[in-house]
Amino acid sequence: MLEVKNLQKSYEKDRPALTDISFDIKPGTFVAIIGPSGAGKTTILRSLNQLIKDDDGQILLDGNDIRTANKTQLRKYRRQIGMVFQNYNLVERLTVIENVLHGRLGYKSTLAGVFGRYTQEEKEEAMSLLKKVGLEKFALKRCSELSGGQKQRVGIARSLIQHPKVILCDEPIASLDPASAQNVMELLKDLTEEYNLICIANLHQINMAKKYADQIIGIRKGRLVFDESADLLSEDILRTLYDQDITKELE
């Protein structure tokens, strides 16, 4: 269970980027955050694993507040929260399997991590996850040789090997062609059910959000304007969210 209560953040004085954001998400739910550019979607997502330090509020993961954690505790929380990036953020020069194994670093002693010593179990799990995302043949390829969709699936495998409770995806399909985008969204949806995860994705494609998400959160100018199950998203709401008619997107 992830509970966010009264989250506040402003980068500059008197220009709040987030105002009083609160929502709950149950395990096994795929959530889409939608809203216009600059609304604060990235800010919310990055506060959830404290890559951005917010100003006030509570972020409770199974009842524990992440915001008040010290450095060591924060690392332990972070390894329960996977993250998938728009630009994949892989170490391009390393192989696919090495990148997947990076997801284990949070569990390792500093020294073992520094020298990249992984156990046989970890390697086997990495292989089976690669199989799950359909990349077992590419394990020894360099990431720089992969297509965008393949890179994104490596990123997903990297977050899964963390054994996460939550996966955060910041515009996971913004750099992908329509077919790869479908593919990645389906993968995320299936994984959410299979592992009983909380998966939160920032999306610009409303039709995608409607199709795959269970719950939709709408953000506008740093405020929460919608937080319901996906089928309750109406044209009216979209109009207030984006300040214009975008009915076509819904079909």
Binding site: Q73, Y77, T95, E98, Q120, L140, H163, K165
Partner: protein, 283 residues
Amino acid sequence: MINSEENIIQKPKTPRSPQIKLHEQSLSRTMIFIVFGSLILITGYTLTHLDTAGVHVDEAFKGLAITLNQMFLQPNAGSDGVPLLLQALASTVMLSILTTIIGAVFGFLFAVLASKNLTNAYLGAGIRVAMAIVRAIPTIIWALIFSIVCGLGTTAAVLGLSFHSIAYLTKAYSESIEGIDKSTIESLKVTGAKFWVVVFQAIWPTIVASLVSWTFIRLEINFANAIAVGAAAGAGGIGYQLFVASGMSFDFHETGFIVYLVILVTFALEFIAVKIRQIYLNR
């Protein structure tokens, strides 16, 4: 606290497989390994065989500390006085600007002729080889060579600095030109435009920002080289003053003063370069 996070994903039951490899032996990895290895070995060998001419290193470092202290904490204009030093500084700055202009003009012409996407292969290759040779010879040697023919002085310094600049800028510019999208050139060629028209209407506007960047980088290098030529070839300017202060009269207070002047100029050049680059990038 954190509880049983390990059990969220059931571990898949795969049969015990042999050791899983994380990467294959690739040429690139091996190469990096070999190059770093050899560099470290060479360094180790050189440092253990370094000739220190019987100098006690620890005492020398103490001496160096004293010198640095005199230079940077107690600088003064010494016996030459501020006006003379400023004049010498101005002439060195002028020398570097002049040679950068010469380098840029000839460099651009040669670059156009040397770029693979513009000219015939033989001419291009010929120019590139010639420029590689010119570049291989240090500026100071160029200056010394010319000073035999034209006598020690401005002409030798200008020619020496220009030669290296031309060769350097030819390479830099032609790399920019070769990076241009083919279609830009073709779209003008198909209109039947003449060669130099294509150059100045299509190529020049496309790469002007990068030309400006490279030219200012060269200006900074030329300033450093002008100092070096002044010092080691006796060609005058602030470099010569620096050489006299630090190597003949051993006045490290004045040396420090000159170094501060030089640093000031390089900061100013960097600042101007940033400003002008902004103008060209925003247009």
